[in-house]
């Protein structure tokens, strides 16, 4: 084995043991309150028939509170996180998560408010949701916003079900949805779940939609076109007005995947480009922490003709005799209905509204401008030196908030793959970019540096890439066997799939 270190790091020496394996019979943490005066300790079998009761307690860990804290704190140190290091994960918008937002979300008036509280006793919460709806409507350039979808993927599905309802209302039942071949995987998956057939549209030499290919595929059987703009190549589609016209003329709707909204806040708006439905990822552009894989939220903004169909309930503002009242409107006869329980991920709404209020209109526009500046600066740095030689930019033009490199020359000339480069970056303390996506680019690396990163971190990242490529020129084995310093080294994913062990053995 080749590598810079042959000794175990302290984290590696600390072998993974689960909370179950640390369990000791008889240990406990919780002390529950007493039953209360006047309440009898009736045997449970007298309250609920024995055949409906559990016979054996569930095997949960038996452990003490100090052991729980130590266990999860130690586990936490086996994670890379945004607060510790640069996280240029393309299309994920890993921007700083302001702690003010955590503080306001934790206020009991927000965090301990039951979702079924009568609207009269939840005016602050409903006003907050209404303000967020209005803010997102202005940012997207569309009149109506539903906050209900739980995530971008659910926003997509909502949008497609809205599309279905819109067409059905006109007595139509088109069967196809167009998506570019650069689309996120969720797009086609959502299309199938909405009962539509996916039809792929080709990408042109500039990285945008191939308009001729689109023209050949647009007909009356097209329900909608799903686009991300700027797309996953970091390219803004200049033909968007023509594209919108083609789809609209055939009776279809235009769906905007808001994954890349961070590039254009205050610069251009999907509504002005002709889109009918937009989903917004509050965990991307609006600073909700990603939490290691959720929570997020995926509100949708829609045009007037789609508005009658939005999910219910909807937060509305009513004014009578000078009194303002915020309410939940269930009386929406054309609504597609619910996508989930209650009103949506309110805790996420609090954080995102705090973020929008902190930045203001100008601040949001500035955030996008600096995201684009950072991306172009890092792209420039990576077009120099060895990176420029081994990792060419997929589309040679100014990018928006992210850009895509191809590791194909690196693989051919140095014998290391994009995956190897990614793993070696871990030893340098960087989270790698998104790899092998978009599928269209061979050995792709998708880099999104975001506006909250300081220049020195971008420089350090570019320097690390240069160093790894230089190292690979003399010894490619180093990257091929990387990482070395992480809590574990490269993991056997094939074995994990072949023989799934997805829980502690009984």
């Amino acid at each position: 084995m080749s590598g810079p270190t042959l000794t175990e790091t302290p984290q590696q020496a600390d072998r993974a043991r689960t909370i179950y394996e640390k369990s000791v019979p008889g240990r406990r943490a919780a002390q529950l309150p007493p039953l209360g005066e006047g309440i009898e300790e009736t045997p449970i079998e007298e309250l609920i028939p024995a055949n409906l009761l559990r016979e054996k307690p569930a095997e949960l860990p038996e452990t003490s509170e100090p052991e729980i804290i130590r266990h999860y704190n130690r586990l936490s140190r086996r994670n890379f996180d945004l607060d510790t290091g640069f996280y240029p994960l393309g299309s994920c918008t890993m921007k700083y998560n302001p702690r003010l937002n955590e503080r306001v979300a934790a206020l009991p008036g927000h965090s301990k408010l039951h979702p079924a509280t009568d609207p009269a006793d939840a005016q602050g919460a409903l006003q907050l949701m209404y303000l967020l709806q209005e803010s997102l409507a202005e940012i997207t350039g569309l009149p109506t916003v539903s906050l209900q979808p739980s995530a971008g993927s659910q926003g997509e599905l909502a949008g497609l079900l809205l599309t279905r309802a819109y067409h059905a209302d006109q007595g139509r039942n088109p069967t196809k949805v167009l998506t570019p071949d650069t689309a996120h995987g969720t797009n086609p998956a959502s299309v199938t779940m909405a009962g539509y057939e996916v039809v792929k549209v080709a990408t042109n030499e500039e990285g945008g939609v191939d308009v001729d290919d689109l023209r050949s595929k647009v007909d009356e059987d097209v329900a909608c076109l799903m686009l991300t703009n700027p797309n996953t190549l970091g390219v803004f589609d200049e033909n968007i007005t023509e594209i919108a016209g083609l789809v609209h003329e055939a009776g279809g709707l235009l769906y905007y995947d808001g994954a890349n909204l961070n590039a254009i806040m205050g610069q251009a708006r999907p509504g002005d480009m002709g889109f009918d439905i937009v989903h917004v990822n509050l965990h991307k552009s609006f600073s909700q922490p990603h939490g290691g894989g959720g929570p997020g939220a995926g509100p949708i903004a829609v045009s007037g003709r789609v508005e009658p169909f939005i999910p219910r309930p909807q937060v509305i503002r009513e004014e009578a005799d000078g009194e303002v009242f915020y309410d939940l409107d269930y009386d929406r006869p054309k609504s597609i209905g619910r996508l989930r329980g209650f009103q949506g991920n309110f805790g996420v709404f609090v954080r995102s509204l705090a973020y929008i209020l902190s930045l203001g209109g100008d601040g949001l526009a500035e955030a996008s401008r600096l995201a684009v500046l950072n991306a172009n600066y890092l792209k420039t740095r990576l077009s120099e030196g060895r990176a420029g030689k081994y990792l060419p930019v997929a589309f040679e033009r100014h990018c928006m908030h992210e850009f895509v490199l191809s590791g194909a020359p690196m693989k051919k000339e140095l014998g290391i793959k994009t995956l190897d480069l990614a793993k070696r970056l871990l030893d340098f303390g960087f989270h790698p970019p998104t790899v092998y996506f978009p599928l269209l680019v061979d050995e792709a690396l998708m880099v999104e540096p975001v506006e909250t990163e300081a220049k020195e971190h971008l420089d350090a990242f570019a320097d690390a890439i240069e160093q790894i490529l230089e190292e690979a020129e003399s010894d490619p084995e180093i990257a091929r066997n990387a990482p070395y310093t992480t809590p574990v080294r490269r993991l056997d994913e094939v074995g994990a799939t072949r023989n799934p062990r997805i829980r502690q053995p009984q």
Partner: protein, 473 residues
């Protein structure tokens, strides 16, 4: 204005020079002029941190949260005590700020938590396979329907009217896209009608959806109801309240193919409805059709134990339109909160909490069912929630006071009228370990006033039913 952006003017100039453009505007030239926004966004100017705090704290102050009034609201989300260690652990940057664990070498913490969570959920539901979490409860019903339809190649969904109305409506919304048809089975004496269920299940039925305890709080005999389901080759899908599984027979021991539910009671705040997590457990044979993320155990290049996201060929980023689901969030942070709460309760505490709720609920039910003007909607066994019928219209008993002089706060119980017109005269009462015997007494007292009318009594009591001057606290 807080931009959270470090770039100074000289740095910007240096970066622009390196890129080879004069201004940031030049970088936006690829956006055609006719769709560029030629005005500032019509939003307020940015505010300082202290101003944002004051504004949002002001909103929070107008909400009647469970710290300001004893809440007996339930309907799927409950005011449990969340132990302090949950807050401490989920607010750590290392759990709060990473993305989905795509790079397992630096995500072992999060992946191991998923593995532990899957084990715990599998244990409490009695089913061998669990995923790492879904969005929340009702939408997990849609995931179950999608799996069942793919598995059976059938399109019929049969749902009990005792299934949470949000789950039923969510299923109806998704059924349009899935091409499914929905049939509802009625209730008798607070329980799903076995006769109606048997008649509704056919050779076209992909899945039958039950809930335990059902929406009216009643404990169903899932095993008995399941017989008709198995006879026709449909999947038995059960929505469960995880906090009742300390004492209730787990769905896996009642013949369920899939159990799912709302995870909020486990370690998550009420948050006016989210974020929380959904859980999804199933029999072994469905492992390659599960929705969402799944963590699996493996080894690294040096033979050390480690964890990865596994069975990824099910998922959207690989399979695209042929994926088993479009879901790519696991609500990982919320699931972590659930896992820490379960570890804190532990093997014994989880049972004790179930028993505590059942006993306090029995007390509350006896007390309230015996009040003048009230009777129980059903007398089926319950764990933590029960339904009460009122002589006086529910809307009239809720205001905590005479509204002649302005609006009064509402008694925090769940009126059934919107979801069940047939029970327009009824409401649900939910009990947790947070609702003391005194607070249960307060509720009974307030209900008595609600029934008899308030008159001048509004000014006589605080929220614990104690006499005070100045009205409801």
């Amino acid at each position: 204005m807080a931009g959270y952006t470090p770039a100074t003017d000289p740095e910007r100039a240096e970066m622009l020079a390196r890129i080879g453009v004069d201004s940031i505007d030049d970088l936006f030239e690829q956006i055609p002029a006719d769709i560029r926004l030629d005005r500032p966004l019509d939003l307020e100017d940015g505010m300082s941190e202290s101003e944002v705090y004051r504004l949002l704290a002001g909103f929070a102050d107008t909400n009647l949260d469970a710290e300001r009034i004893p809440s007996f609201l339930g309907a799927g989300m409950y005011d449990h005590y969340v132990p302090a260690i949950v807050d401490a652990i989920v607010s750590r940057s290392e759990f709060l700020t990473p993305y989905t664990p795509y790079q397992p070498e630096v995500s072992q913490g999060g992946l191991q938590v998923m593995f532990e969570f899957q084990t715990a959920m599998s244990e409490i539901t009695g089913l061998p396979v669990s995923n790492a979490g879904l969005y929340e409860g009702p939408s997990a019903a849609a995931s179950a329907a999608y799996l069942a339809m793919g598995q059976t190649r059938r399109t019929g969904l049969v749902v009990s009217r005792g299934l949470h109305p949000h789950s039923r409506e969510t299923l109806a919304t998704h059924a349009v896209g899935f091409g499914a048809t929905l049939v509802e089975v009625g209730m008798e004496g607070g329980l799903t009608s076995g006769e109606e269920l048997e008649a509704a299940v056919t050779e076209e039925t992909a899945a039958v959806f039950l809930q335990n305890p059902n929406f009216l709080g009643a404990v169903e005999d899932i095993s008995a109801l399941g017989e008709a389901v198995r006879a026709k080759g449909a999947l038995l899908v059960v929505q469960v309240d995880p906090m009742t599984l300390g004492i209730l027979r787990p769905p896996g021991e009642c013949g369920a193919d899939i159990a799912y539910g709302e995870g909020q009671p486990l370690g998550n705040r009420l948050d006016f409805g989210g974020p929380s997590f959904g859980f999804f457990c199933a029999k072994e044979e469905y492992i390659r059709k599960m929705p969402g993320r799944i963590a699996g155990e493996t080894t690294d290049a040096d033979g050390r134990r480690g964890f990865v996201l596994t069975l990824q060929t099910r998922e959207q980023h690989i399979r695209r339109e042929k994926a088993t689901s479009n879901i790519c969030t696991a609500q990982a942070l919320n699931a972590l909160a659930g896992m820490v709460h379960l570890a804190w309760l532990g093997k014994q505490g989880f049972v004790e909490l179930g028993e505590l709720m059942a006993r306090r609920t029995a007390h509350a039910r006896r007390l309230i069912g015996g009040l003048d003007g009230y009777e129980l909607l059903h007398d089926a066994p319950v764990v933590r929630e029960f339904a009460v019928r009122s002589e006086r219209p529910v809307e009239e008993i809720l205001p905590l006071g005479d509204e002649a002089h302005g609006p009064a706060p509402r008694l925090p119980v769940y009126p059934l009228g919107r979801d069940y017109p047939e029970y327009e005269d009824s409401f649900l009462v939910a009990v947790t370990e947070n609702r003391s015997v005194d607070e249960i007494g307060w509720l009974a007292h307030m209900l008595e006033h609600g029934q008899a009318g308030w008159g001048e009594h509004i000014h006589d009591h605080d929220h614990e039913g104690n006499p005070v001057a100045g009205g409801v606290a």
